[in-house]
Symmetry: C2
């Protein structure tokens, strides 16, 4: 039984989407924003195509997905490009409620958080999907 690697075609739609995601790696974007961006570039792409490509990137481990902040109205899922080597499953993420900027919390304090939660609250922390919200450095200043 031959194991055959599925080939992949290069298309300008995908290239455009990927560019946009990479340019915005430091924050989160929605499927709709991608669509709007592409349209503005006169390279309109169907929403279906966008969702399918996002799904693909996700499976390959190059995309983080964020559901809207709990309690938020009218939110939608947003996405962020990440290198798979980033080990995003091992640290928490801080997301700015204002601008969508995401900080990877990969510092030593992570261990303390995890062990406090385990020792005092009995929980085995799962970083994947756990997001802390707040105002980032930039947005703190500007009176909302």
């Amino acid at each position: 039984m031959e194991k055959r690697v599925k080939q992949e075609y290069k298309t300008s739609s995908r290239a455009g989407i990927l560019d946009y995601l990479k340019q915005n790696r430091q924050r989160t974007v929605s499927a709709g924003e991608i669509h709007t961006h592409m349209k503005a570039q006169n390279r309109q792409v169907n929403m279906t195509t966008i969702y399918r490509y996002l799904e693909k990137l996700e499976v390959e481990g190059n995309l983080m997905q964020y559901t809207p902040q709990s309690g938020e109205k009218n939110g939608c899922v947003t996405y962020q490009y990440v290198d798979s080597k980033h080990k995003c499953g091992e640290h928490l993420h801080l997301k700015c409620v204002q601008c969508g900027f995401v900080e990877h919390m990969d510092c030593d304090f992570m261990k303390e958080i995890a062990s406090h939660i385990s020792a005092e609250h009995g929980f085995a922390l799962e970083c994947k999907g756990s997001v802390l919200y707040g105002l980032c450095k930039n947005c703190r200043g500007q009176g909302r």
Copy 2:
């Protein structure tokens, strides 16, 4: 100008929904679960009614809302009854990905987390909407 308190009628639908929420204060339930529960009790309530009452409780400050864990497929919004005196806006919440159990993290360590995040990452933490996921004490044991 008279300020008039809007009156409120007691109905068995609302009483049933509230009972169910209160009985399950330690965890999170969805609108659909409430619907199913009421039907099982032979006290069927329309989904519209459920959503409208949940909205009301939320406005009154007696309900926490949780969007599905980031990245989770097919999740829906879930709700938890809380006394408004609980000050849920001042601590984080730990939610079990398996059983939905929620732990209020109102311990001293909260301050340390907030100050680390502020000092090292520049973020002003916003507890409202920030949820950490993991496996609770009970679910840790049982091989998933």
